[in-house]
């Protein structure tokens, strides 16, 4: 929320999407939806990015990686998602949004999704592999 306006003011495009939360009560976009509309069509997103270099939209509102929203619904009652599905979900949406440079923050610790450094390093390698191939 701080970084994005700063970077987009320098002319870098940063179209942002979010999914519904699985492992937390509400994701960033769900909080933002209390204040403003977050459901836009493909055309509206293109127009927002053309005008402002950025947007914050709900991926499920358009057909962006549509299988992801359905897989999230299946996982929601258990508040659990495998690491494989998490990587696929994140990277599919980056690819569909036309992202070509991505910085992924992997918080690590006893209460985070990633409990230890070994798992974090493994995930890092997987994110890099998928990103380079896409």
């Amino acid at each position: 929320m701080i970084m994005i306006p700063l970077l987009t003011s320098l002319g870098i495009k940063m179209p942002k999407t979010f999914s519904k939360a699985i492992t937390t009560p509400a994701a960033t976009g769900e909080c933002v939806s209390v204040l403003m509309d977050i459901s836009f069509s493909k055309k509206q997103i293109e127009e927002l990015v053309r005008k402002h270099n950025t947007c914050l939209v709900w991926g499920g509102g358009l057909d962006l990686a549509p299988a992801d929203e359905k897989l999230i619904k299946a996982a929601y009652p258990l508040s659990m998602q495998s690491y494989s599905r998490t990587i696929v979900s994140i990277m599919a949406k980056k690819y569909a949004m036309g992202i070509n440079h991505s910085l992924i923050d992997i918080p690590m610790g006893p209460t985070a999704k990633v409990p230890d450094m070994k798992t974090a390093n493994k995930l890092k390698k997987q994110f890099i592999y998928v990103g380079q191939k896409l």
């Binding site: 940063m14 992801d68 299946a74 036309g98 923050d105």
Partner: protein, 188 residues
């Protein structure tokens, strides 16, 4: 063989025809939240081999929409299809429009691929794409989608599998393209 027993009048044999039929849309002010449903007249549906909770395909202004069928004896008349609010909102459906309705199901390739995956066999790009497409287009039931979702806990994917899954998940939906540097920062 007794010839009398084999001669059956066509009127006495119930043979549901699984062909497309045309009905008019009626908008139903009910929102289910997480599933797509359409209501058909019970007898008309059975005439076409459609039962409750079958997957049906609606062709609305050239676009195919796959929904779950619910049946009504009297609320929906022959020649009508009741479209619930979730479908109306997503596909901007108007009342009184003609739609073609037909029974549909998931592709046999996707089901066979899911069976293979459940046995721990690695899937190729085509098989992964068929599963993602059937999930994306609502052809997979919730049960099949849940089986696929849970696979990751039992058989961690290889790097290459992650790549083909991400690619298939993206390519079975809309893709956006912007010129120049398009950056992103994501927190897991």
């Amino acid at each position: 063989m007794n010839p009398k027993k084999t001669q059956t009048s066509p009127k006495q044999v119930y043979l549901p025809v699984r062909q497309a039929f045309h009905v008019r849309t009626r908008l139903i002010d009910i929102q289910e939240g997480d599933s797509f449903t359409a209501l058909l007249n019970e007898q008309e549906a059975r005439d076409h081999g459609i039962n409750s909770m079958d997957k049906i395909s609606l062709i609305y202004e050239g676009e195919e929409i796959v929904v779950d069928a619910d049946l009504s004896h009297s609320y929906i008349k022959r020649g009508e299809v009741g479209i619930l609010k979730d479908v109306v909102q997503k596909y901007k459906i108007e009342a009184g429009k003609m739609v073609a309705v037909a029974f549909t199901s998931n592709s046999s390739l996707s089901v066979e691929a899911l069976k293979k995956a459940l046995k721990g066999v690695k899937l190729n790009e085509k098989e992964t794409f068929s599963i993602m497409k059937d999930i994306a287009t609502n052809r997979f039931t919730d049960t099949l989608t849940t089986y696929y979702s849970a696979l990751g806990f039992f058989y961690p994917a290889t790097d290459h599998e992650l790549y083909i899954m991400a690619k298939a998940m993206a390519q079975t939906g809309e893709m956006l393209h912007f010129p120049g540097v398009v950056a992103d920062k994501h927190c897991m």
